[in-house]
């Protein structure tokens, strides 16, 4: 009897099959994942969760008898009152206890997706525009790669092939007697011994030879410490791409809670997405009224300010922060601005100039999200009648720089995700759709 401890074997043997299942049901699972977004708050977007898809699509059919019709018999335990010949009312559905197939009646297939699977499906077919700058940061060396062989190392890194190759060439070079040679001499001795007559001389000679060979064999070992070769690994610095995301938001009195909530959802999605693409993602929150300041997340979303609206102050602040901490040479810069569109008319020229001349050249991507009231009376009347906001009109002039600058309007939380997807849909797909 053997006892084998398999506990340390790598787990996740079913991982491949699990992935294949997800691939097969991808469309459905993706649908389910996106649907589930409605029920999730932006905060627990990243946790694992149960999803449900129609069972029919992943059903494995087989020839089996139907569960209704025909004549059936059932043997059951636990009779209390029935006598032979008794008649029992048929249960309404016609389904008898023993008749149903377990689980088959259930129309839905439920299972748990891990966090990674969830995110993958959720953000699938999105890509970052202008994923250009990658900076090799010093100090953060990580990862090992194989780098030749060495004569010392841990036993687990022993390279059998190399070692044996060395051993063989050494054995050949030093003429280590081979097993066959010895066997041949032994056979010869045996043959001579078996022969009639006196061959003692020859036998003695052979024995001597055999002894010599054996001594030599002992001296020249099969595998010698000098043969040993170990695989050598050396740490390699890996390029680490990093990104900073500037969240700019107008927090003046005209921004309602609803608008802030919309903006927050957009930022959360963007952050999630950036985190998946970059190892390091830093977020800078800049809020502004008629003056701008850098704040923490809590303050950014939840504290109220009063004052006028000067968008250029936020842009200035951002440029300053960028200069202080995030050199465009080292960082991929993403800007997401949310506003209700108000701006002092006098500020327009400055805003455009800052955006077009100072920010656009260094930023990877700038998204302007104009958030509106949930029930916008103008909205229902259609586009042409709607008066474009000040900021919208001014930004309109710089729109279209190679897709680096985009602006969208959002009124309801259900629009956030579609807009987000639209912005980051894979280029190839988007282009294809545009052409057709």
């Amino acid at each position: 009897m053997h006892i084998v401890d398999r506990r340390l074997n790598p787990g996740g043997k079913s991982l491949v099959n699990r992935q294949r299942f997800l691939r097969r049901a991808k469309a459905l699972v993706q649908q389910a994942v996106r649907d589930s977004l409605k029920d999730r708050s932006i905060k627990d977007l990243e946790t694992e969760g149960e999803v449900t898809i129609p069972r029919d699509e992943v059903h494995e059919p087989s020839f089996r008898r139907g569960s209704s019709g025909g004549n059936r018999e059932h043997i059951l335990p636990g009779n209390k009152e029935y006598l032979q010949g008794d008649e029992i009312e048929r249960p309404p559905s016609g389904g008898e206890g023993a008749g149903g197939h377990q689980g088959e009646g259930d129309d839905e297939f439920r299972f748990v997706l891990s966090r990674e699977e969830f995110l993958d499906l959720f953000l699938d077919d999105l890509e970052l525009p202008e994923l250009a700058k990658k900076k090799l940061t010093s100090g953060e060396a990580e990862g090992v790669r194989q780098a030749g062989y060495s004569t010392s190392g841990s036993p687990s890194a022993l390279s059998i092939t190399r070692t044996m190759r060395n051993s063989m060439s050494r054995r050949i070079a030093l003429k280590r007697p081979r097993g066959e040679e010895m066997a041949k001499i032994e056979a010869e001795i045996a043959r001579l011994e078996a022969l009639p007559g006196d061959h003692s001389d020859a036998i003695a000679k052979l024995r001597e030879e055999l002894e010599r060979l054996e001594r030599r064999r002992k001296l020249i070992t099969y595998v010698d410490p000098i043969d040993l070769r170990y695989r050598r690994f050396e740490p390699t610095p890996k390029p680490i791409s990093q990104a900073v995301m500037f969240c700019l938001m107008d927090v003046s009195g005209s921004m309602t809670e609803h608008m802030k909530d919309l903006a927050k959802r957009f930022y959360a999605l963007l952050h999630l997405f950036l985190k998946r693409c970059y190892r390091h993602v830093e977020v800078v929150f800049i809020r502004h009224t008629d003056r701008a300041e850098e704040v923490d997340e809590e303050t950014f979303f939840y504290s109220r300010e009063t004052g006028g609206t000067l968008v250029s102050t936020a842009l200035e602040k951002m440029l300053q922060v960028m200069k202080d901490r995030y050199s465009p040479n080292d960082w991929n810069i993403y800007v997401a601005q949310a506003s209700d569109g108000d701006n002092m008319p006098s500020d327009t020229a400055k805003t455009i100039a800052l955006m077009a001349d100072e920010i656009m050249p260094v930023a990877q991507y700038v998204a302007y999200l104009e958030v509106g009231r949930e029930e916008d009376p103008m909205m229902s009347m259609g586009g042409p009648l709607m008066r474009a906001s000040d900021l919208w009109r001014s930004y309109g002039q710089i729109d279209g720089q190679n897709g680096k600058f985009v602006m969208r309007k959002v009124h309801h939380r259900r629009e956030i995700y579609p807009v987000f997807r639209e912005l980051f849909a894979k280029r190839g797909l988007a282009a294809g759709r545009g052409k057709s």
Partner: protein
């Protein structure tokens, strides 16, 4: 009774590998000396709960090719396990030589003892000795075969693409149940034997020759009939092993596709005996573990506490909710099997008058182990129940039989546990375990070779129960994809031969065909 052990094998619930070794040795001693079991050598593998979940979803096999359906299985089990709807098995045993036993690290020492007695000796003995397993499975070769299958299918995926292979496996899995030989095939005769047979036949014809036969009026010989029977002989029809037929005769499959069909077929055949011996297999294993644990307790190898722990879990395993308890989900094979084994032991040692009447061969024979071992070796569930279910058990279980006829408004109580009902109950229960009664009888009957190569199948309907329609349609579609031409499945009423329903399908363009050109 042998002398009491001075010290129990273990105290408390902790164990280590030495404990397992000690437990195994003691259990082995009891199993071989007292029960005289004949087992394959064992290999015990300790695994974690996560690994047990993995093993679950690959039908318990240690290695299996990749397919999405196993992933689906895994996700189902995982959810149930996480929600606590289902616990995990304490062990998993594989019919191989050496016999592989997986035991979970979470088990207490008592559970490990129980599991070793149950699986490493109970199931192991059954696997090695039962005629169905001997006839249909190759315990020595299975692990190597699985490895070959996994590698082969992986290679096919590399060469022909995952999607192609997946489609093929989908189709093959759908036909899995129609992929077993139910009867051992006759050996192909060599030329010499064939000649001898022909000569004998000829001689017989000469002996039987009577000139008067010449005068009998002859009907017109049907040329068509002759053609049909010739074709049937050439193709080996009728054939109930659909996968086998496709592997050998489907015109448009590539060699690798045939090999994959063969792999699924071989695995289906390997599992075929297990479906037919569930009650006996579990019954035997439960009986063995009960005997061994009791013996260990009597000899002082295990403490009172752990014996009590064993009894609790044993009782849970062999429990059966009654039909009206709300928890009824069919008969528990552990319960049926274990109770029948105990009952047979009683018939052997302390028979009643009734037992003598019903089981004259074994009643009062005294040789419990010998009788049981004979039964374990030579029966399957259906024959076991129809031979050995005693009136005492039927009374004890308060069995009754319901007849549910489509055309009658009420369900009729056909038999209860009384003198008039015993045989009917026993016959009915045996049928529930009869695979040829439970599985639909589907056969390939003909191929339209002269016409459009339509493959014709028949389902011989029993008791008017048709195939589940949606599923049948899908499987026929898979079948058509494999066959490469149209497929027709007719559901035939056995009395009168009228067709009740027909399922037809044409191959999909994107089906698993690949072998064009």
């Amino acid at each position: 009774m042998s002398k009491l052990a001075t010290k129990p094998l273990y105290e408390g619930s902790d164990w280590n590998f030495d404990t397992i070794q000690r437990i195994y040795d003691t259990v082995e001693q009891v199993a071989h000396e007292e029960l005289d079991l004949n087992t394959y050598p064992n290999q015990i593998e300790v695994i974690t709960a996560e690994q047990m979940l993995d093993a679950y979803s690959s039908t318990g096999m240690p290695l299996l090719y990749n397919h999405w359906s196993f992933g689906k299985q895994f996700l189902t089990n995982e959810l149930m396990y996480r929600k606590g709807q289902r616990g995990l098995a304490y062990e998993l045993v594989i019919n191989s030589d050496p016999c592989i036993n997986y035991i979970m690290e979470e088990n207490s020492a008592t559970m490990q003892t129980l599991v070793l007695a149950h699986a490493a000796f109970g199931h192991n003995h059954f696997f090695k000795n039962n005629y169905l397993f001997q006839q249909w499975t190759d315990a020595e070769g299975i692990l190597d075969y699985l490895e070959f299958a996994k590698r082969y299918i992986a290679q096919c995926e590399e060469r022909y693409g995952q999607i192609q292979v997946e489609r093929l496996l989908d189709a093959a899995h759908a036909l899995n149940r129609q992929g077993v030989h139910r009867y051992p095939r006759g050996q192909a005769r060599d030329l010499k034997a064939e000649m001898a047979r022909e000569n004998e036949r000829h001689a017989q014809r000469e002996r039987d020759y009577n000139d008067l036969y010449r005068t009998l009026p002859k009907g017109k010989a049907k040329a068509a009939d002759a053609a049909v029977s010739e074709r049937a002989a050439a193709l080996g029809l009728p054939q109930e092993n659909v996968l086998y037929f496709l592997e050998k005769s489907a015109p448009r499959l590539a060699p690798w596709q045939r090999e994959i069909l063969r792999i699924t077929r071989v695995l289906a055949q390997y599992f075929y005996p297990q479906g037919q011996t569930k009650v006996m297999n579990e019954g035997a294993a439960c009986y063995v573990h009960y005997r061994i644990m009791t013996a260990l307790h009597e000899r002082g190898h295990i403490t009172e506490g752990s014996f009590l722990e064993f009894l609790t879990s044993h009782t849970n395993v062999v429990s059966q909710p009654m039909f009206d308890s709300g928890r009824y989900g069919g008969l528990n094979p552990y319960w049926v099997g274990y109770n029948m084994m105990q009952d047979i032991a009683q018939v052997c040692t302390a028979p009643t008058e009734e037992d003598r009447l019903w089981f004259p061969d074994i009643a009062g024979g005294g040789d419990v182990e010998g009788t049981l071992k004979h039964i374990w070796a030579n029966y399957r569930d259906e024959s076991f129940v129809s031979q050995f279910l005693s009136p005492r058990l039927m009374r004890h279980w308060r069995l009754f039989k319901l007849d549910d006829h489509e055309k009658v408004d009420h369900i009729k109580v056909d038999a209860i546990h009384d003198e008039r009902g015993y045989r009917e109950l026993r016959r009915g229960l045996a049928r529930q375990y009869d695979i040829s009664w439970q599985e639909p009888d589907i056969q390939i009957v003909d191929v339209d070779l002269a016409g459009d190569r339509t493959l014709m199948l028949e389902h011989h309907v029993t008791n008017g129960v048709l195939l589940a329609e949606k599923d049948a349609g899908r499987v026929v579609q898979h079948l058509a994809d494999l066959w490469g031409y149209e497929v027709v499945l007719a559901e035939i009423e056995p009395e009168g031969g009228s067709t009740l329903k027909e399922h037809k399908a044409r191959p999909r363009a994107s089906g698993p065909r690949l072998a064009e050109g």
